[in-house]
């Protein structure tokens, strides 16, 4: 750490002044940009900071050359070696080839991932038995073909070389058989005692087979107890239903039916088990086209800025504790009985509430109110009551029996366990999955209480904090390696089928429980299969039923039925006012590594957070006003104090964060030393308690130190140009053919001749900015599909991240509550590409179908192309980023894409490998490629279908039709480089009585016709063209 006088301070007051004085609509990415700090100017003008191309490890470049000169000379000669001998190992038995496998062609298997306990349908691409890509299963209700970042990144977790590879007894390496034999006598004792002293701790369980095993265990050992704990659980949802209906329910939302939606701190586009489907349904009502000028309207009252708030038509930041007040006021206004409403928080205007209430009342039966997991039970109950009052139940929201097996209040469940541990009543504790030593609330002090337990058995994928204190550690099997089953958020069952043998000899939870059931040695396959055989769901042959379930990825005839509930009165009570004068500390799961379970996943650690754009570490997020009051700047280290404990955290200023509050993301600061998770971030669990799992009160104390956070928001910046176009539905309706907020069309002329396209196809892409929710699914899909390496924090600080597809986030308006725009950005495949003309070795050239080809084997690494790219979408391998040593990671790579080495430029290829595969298939079958046959990885992963790719020469293609929409615009059109990727302007639907969030900008009169392109305009977009 350094003292913070080294850094240039951002003058927040000056930023405010500049934004207030801005004429027209100004989009900005960061406060540094508005303040025009030195660092920002550097990123703006240089793409890579000064000295980024230099060798600056502990060795100086000079020393390095001295030492390495001779070895480099020798290394140069190694290229003059004969090609290494390659061996081909065919199968011995022809069965797999005859039945389902054509060597060289990937096979796809339907399965489900359970990244957060609930099933997400996936199709796993398998190259000769190696899973290489996870995409969504179109047949599965939670996926509909898309997949979230967690599901996709599970692939890297499976191959993670840091995964536990041995059974361990204390510090000694043991074996599974040894474990089974050693605990057999203990189990006999326990059986004799009816299971007294045996406790089992799991996370949320939706697997029907596991639930039936637990039931069998509890029948065999009636005194044994089953506890459940998830650090990011839905206790509040359950308690809220209990308050409102007197019983537990799960809520299923139908966003496709909703005209008006009010989210009370619910990040339903990211945090819910049904988020991927919800995002699709929600956006299906926001696709404004010439033939559809209708949109839903989203109001969001939220604490921590989230992607849901970012796409809202009206967003109101409030501290988590103040949201109950809004819920009460709305409930009272729509006529819910027995609700007392306090004063509105000062930040909320009464016009805002008026507009919201009138919208909700006008759309009875087509409105929806939902509350976030972090809101207290009463807010959930109020949301239920409002929905009931407005007749929304049955249309936009339905209730089902909880999907989770034996739902309990998990915090209470864990507390009971800890109490029993403290009292010495626990002889054997079996922990399946989870990591309570790390993530249990700090006041329970789970780790030290483990000492009172006779034998602790922990099964997990990693040898983590809990494993380190356990008597036995058992490596778990990943879902790609084992048989299991799971339920989706709406109760549809799926079978988990293995794609590969366990890499590190892990066992599944079913196989572990079989040991406790006296069935040691039974395979996971037999356990799962016999469970389903006993369900008698098959009409006719079980084999047919089973194979169909495996092939489709869902079990026919399953799914929750709608449950009727009746609202109980008198639940609301009085609201207790939050304490004054203290800072509110709000806990949130990390948007990229969740509760810490993905902490060792490099893809997710390096994935920029959707809003802060921070990679690797977490930070204490504060709003502009709070930062001003406390005199804080980004990167300053503060002490976050709550209830006698504290944690040191670097500060990050997040536009739109409520005042007098700080958000800390969970999941970082792991003691577990994986090669990725080591030394990343701070552990927010250390100040989280059972009484206040989501928000508490405390203080922020500056320490005078600073810590470098790796943030990508100023990387690849193109400041000062009109990159995002946005407008309102009302102004679009005025003139749908020529929306007033769209830039005027110009006619440009180029000195370069037009490229002659010889092929029947011209590939192009359209990205709908209205539909983009910034969830990052496309970035991870691209990374997995195209073998994109992880570079590490040090390299991100130098703007060397390798993501081919980044999501730029722009703000506009009031920095305390700005409007957010997301813009996915990747190579746009210009027809007159500036990169092509400057390459001295013709390593980047055009092809007949309009794709800008990047030829790695020709590239010598001059970086001229990147310097000349106005969109800054080219990435350079400054160092050997691809790990060529780790064996397991070699298995993971896509064999259809070259693995790049040091010194090579790379960029988006429009997933050329997928195009080529389709082209060859069509050629052999003597037909044309159908529209939608080639889906780029980003397009397929997108939950909202914001990305559309296809053949522009096909008049019936979806992409061609979208390009004809009036909302279609060309980014940096004035450069006249004719990109093949274009964007659809972002349209919002604010309430007419509220000040529009997005002011309509006057673009001035159309320019003269003879506005030719001047040499300055074709010059590199970084404005000074020389470097």
């Amino acid at each position: 750490m350094t003292t913070n006088s080294d850094n240039e301070r951002v003058d927040l007051a000056q930023i405010r002044e500049r934004l207030a004085g801005a004429k027209g609509q100004q989009y900005w990415r960061s406060l540094e940009e508005v303040a025009e700090t030195r660092e920002f100017q550097e990123f703006l003008h240089r793409e890579f900071p000064q000295g980024a191309a230099e060798w600056d490890d502990s060795l100086s470049r000079r020393t390095f050359l001295k030492i390495m000169g001779a070895s480099l000379a020798l290394a140069g000669l190694t290229s003059c070696r004969r090609q290494p001998v390659e061996r081909i190992a065919p199968y011995t038995n022809a069965k797999p080839e005859q039945e389902y496998l054509t060597p060289g062609i990937p096979a796809y298997y339907a399965s489900v991932a359970t990244p957060r306990g609930y099933a997400m349908g996936v199709l796993v691409e398998s190259h000769m038995g190696r899973p290489t890509f996870i995409s969504g299963n179109p047949e599965h209700p939670a996926s509909l073909g898309a997949a979230d970042v967690f599901t996709q990144a599970e692939l890297l977790t499976m191959y993670d070389p840091d995964r536990s590879q041995d059974v361990r007894q204390g510090d000694a390496v043991s074996s599974w058989d040894n474990f089974v034999n050693t605990i057999a006598p203990q189990l006999d004792e326990l059986r004799a005692a009816g299971g007294a002293g045996l406790r089992i701790l799991t996370q949320t369980v939706t697997s029907p087979t596991l639930a039936s095993q637990m039931q069998a265990l509890q029948e065999a050992l009636p005194s044994a107890q089953w506890h459940r704990y998830n650090p990011v659980g839905n206790d509040n949802v359950r308690q809220g239903a209990q308050l409102a209906f007197g019983e537990f329910t799960d809520n299923i939302y139908r966003f496709s039916q909703a005209n008006v939606i009010l989210s009370l701190d619910s990040n339903f586009l990211l945090n819910d088990p049904g988020s991927v489907r919800y995002a699709r349904e929600f956006m299906s009502r926001r696709r404004v086209r010439l033939d559809n000028l209708e949109m839903n309207r989203l109001y969001v009252v939220e604490s921590t800025p989230s992607i849901t708030g970012s796409v809202a038509d009206h967003r109101q930041p409030l501290r988590a504790s103040e949201i109950e007040a809004v819920a009460r006021v709305v409930a009272q206004r729509v006529g819910v009985a027995d609700v007392t409403a306090p004063e509105l928080p000062a930040a909320v205007s009464s016009e805002w509430i008026d507009a919201l209430v009138s919208d909700l009342q006008e759309n009875q039966g087509a409105g929806l109110v939902l509350a976030g997991d972090n809101q207290p039970p009463v807010v959930h109950a109020l949301a239920h009551a409002i929905n009931q009052q407005l007749g929304n139940v049955g249309t936009t929201v339905v209730y089902i029996e909880p999907v989770e097996a034996n739902p309990v209040n998990q915090t209470e469940s864990l507390r009971e366990l800890v109490t029993a541990m403290e009292a010495g009543e626990v002889q054997m504790l079996l922990i399946i999955g989870g990591n309570p030593v790390y993530d249990a609330p700090a006041d329970l002090d789970f780790g030290s209480k483990l000492a009172n337990v006779g034998t602790t058995i922990h099964q997990s994928l990693f040898f983590d904090e809990t494993s380190a204190t356990a008597t036995w550690h058992l490596p778990g099997a990943h879902f790609l390696e084992s048989w299991s089953d799971a339920l989706s958020f709406n109760g549809v069952a799926s079978i988990v089928q293995p794609i590969i043998e366990p890499l590190y000899g892990g066992k599944s939870a079913h196989e572990l429980l079989a040991v406790f059931l006296g069935q040691a040695g039974t395979s996971g396959y037999d356990i799962v299969r016999s469970y389903w055989q006993n369900q008698n769901l098959a009409e006719g042959n079980f084999e047919t039923f089973w194979n169909r379930a495996l092939r489709a990825g869902i079990v026919a005839g399953t799914g929750a039925t709608v449950k009727s509930v009746s609202l109980q009165g008198g639940f609301a009570g009085e609201m207790t006012a939050p304490p004054e004068g203290q800072i509110e500390i709000m806990f949130q799961p990390d948007p990229t590594i969740w509760d810490g379970r993905f902490a060792n996943n490099g893809w997710l650690q390096e994935l920029p957070d959707p809003l802060t754009k921070l990679t690797w570490d977490n930070a204490a997020l504060v709003g502009l006003r709070t930062a001003e009051t406390l005199g804080l700047n980004p990167n300053d280290v503060v002490e976050v104090r709550a209830g006698g404990t504290s944690v040191r955290a670097p500060v990050w200023i997040l536009e739109g964060h409520p005042d007098n509050a700080v958000t800390v993301y969970l999941g970082h600061g792991r003691a577990f030393t994986g090669r990725v998770s080591s030394g990343v971030g701070f552990n927010a669990y250390s100040i989280r308690t059972t009484d206040a799992p989501w928000f508490t009160y405390g203080e922020l104390r500056p320490t005078g130190e600073s810590y470098a956070l790796a943030c990508t928001q100023d990387h690849a910046t193109m400041a000062g140009r009109e990159l995002v176009v946005s407008g309102t539905l009302a102004s679009l309706r005025e003139d749908p053919e020529h929306p007033p907020f769209m830039p005027h069309g110009h006619e440009y002329h180029s000195i370069y001749p037009d490229y002659e396209y010889g092929g029947p196809r011209a590939w192009g892409m359209v990205v709908d900015l209205t539909a983009c929710i910034g969830c990052n699914a496309c970035t991870i899909a691209c990374q997995a599909e195209n073998n994109i390496p992880v570079v590490g924090k040090e390299q991100v600080l130098k703007a060397r991240e390798m993501h081919w597809l980044r999501i730029d986030r722009y703000y506009t308006g009031d920095p305390d509550n700005p409007t957010v725009h997301f813009q996915p950005m990747m190579c746009v495949h210009c027809e007159k590409a500036p990169c092509e003309v400057v390459c001295p070795v013709a390593a980047t050239v055009h092809d007949d179908e309009g794709i800008n080809n990047m030829v790695y084997n020709r590239c010598v690494g001059t970086r001229y192309c990147s310097n000349n790219c106005p969109y800054k979408v080219r990435r350079f391998n400054f160092l050997q980023y691809t790990d060529r040593q780790t064996e397991s990671l070699k298995l993971m790579r896509n064999p259809d894409v070259t693995v790049r080495n040091r010194g090579v430029m790379e960029k988006c290829t429009y997933c050329i490998q997928r195009i080529v595969a389709a082209r060859i298939q069509a050629n052999v079958e003597e037909r044309e490629i159908n529209d939608g046959e080639v889906q780029t990885a980003c397009q397929a992963a997108c939950p909202t279908r914001a990305i559309v790719f296809g053949n522009l020469n096909d008049p019936e293609s979806q992409v061609r039709k979208l390009k004809a929409e009036p909302l279609n615009y060309i980014m940096l059109e004035e450069l006249n480089i004719q990109p093949r990727t274009t964007w659809l302007a972002n349209v919002r639907n604010p309430h007419p009585t509220l000040a529009p969030l997005v002011p309509v900008e006057d673009h001035g009169p159309a320019p003269e016709e003879d506005h030719g392109t001047t040499p300055e305009e074709v010059a590199p977009a970084d404005g000074h063209g020389t470097e």
Partner: protein, 221 residues
């Protein structure tokens, strides 16, 4: 001051000049030699038989018996990879034929132990080249065009250096080499006298877009 005699006499100048020129010449020649060497058949192992773990004779199977290529290389018309057959393919015939021949013993060993036979790859392209058998054999590029007369080889060797220029020769002017799809696996196919005419006709028939064939992304990605 005493005048010292000149160390170098004037005619040394000539030597210096000659040395410079000869040196440059040697450098250029070395370069040329290296280029020739690294492009040579010796370095590329062209026409050098590659020993395999099984003394399998293409001559006996494809030549004498006349087995079709696709009997073993099953996926050649479906996939980028032509496939090396599983041991079972060998076993199906050799339970009947030459069961006890010592040359077949490695096959039996593999069949009994389940250990795959580790064949050595003969035609090995660099990893940044994505060759696809499927699209070639379905568009009239015969096996022998690249692999030579495999039916006459006891042990297979490369007949071509697999240089990019060699690939491009056909990618730019495929009409020189195309044959009807029915003749692709015919080892005895001879180009007719009107090859160019036939080629042109096949180009149209198979809808081959020649200008696209020299795009980089056709083979590299």
């Amino acid at each position: 001051m005493e005048r010292r005699p000149q160390l170098f006499r004037p005619r040394i100048n000539k030597l210096a000049r000659v040395t410079i020129f000869v040196g440059a010449l040697i450098a250029v020649e070395l370069l040329l030699i290296m280029i020739v060497f690294f492009r040579s058949n010796f370095w590329r192992q062209v026409n050098i038989a590659i020993e395999q773990p099984v003394a399998f004779s293409h001559y006996a199977h494809a030549g004498v018996v006349g087995t079709d290529c696709r009997y073993c290389h099953t996926s050649v018309d479906q996939s980028h990879f032509a496939n090396i057959p599983p041991t079972e393919t060998c076993v199906t015939c050799h339970t009947q034929v030459k069961r006890d021949s010592p040359r077949v013993q490695p096959i039996w060993q593999s069949w009994e132990t389940g250990e795959p036979i580790l064949w050595q790859r003969v035609h090995d392209l660099p990893d940044f080249v994505y060759f696809n058998h499927n699209v070639h054999v379905n568009n009239g590029v015969g096996c022998t065009e690249c692999h030579g007369q495999v039916n006459e080889m006891e042990v297979v060797w490369k007949t071509e250096g697999l240089f990019m220029g060699w690939c491009l020769d056909c990618h730019r002017n495929p009409e020189q080499y195309l044959r009807p799809v029915e003749e692709v696996y015919n080892m005895e196919w001879q180009r007719p006298d009107d090859q160019l005419e036939l080629g042109q006709q096949l180009l149209t028939e198979y809808d081959i877009n020649v200008s696209r064939l020299s795009n980089c992304y056709i083979c590299h990605r």
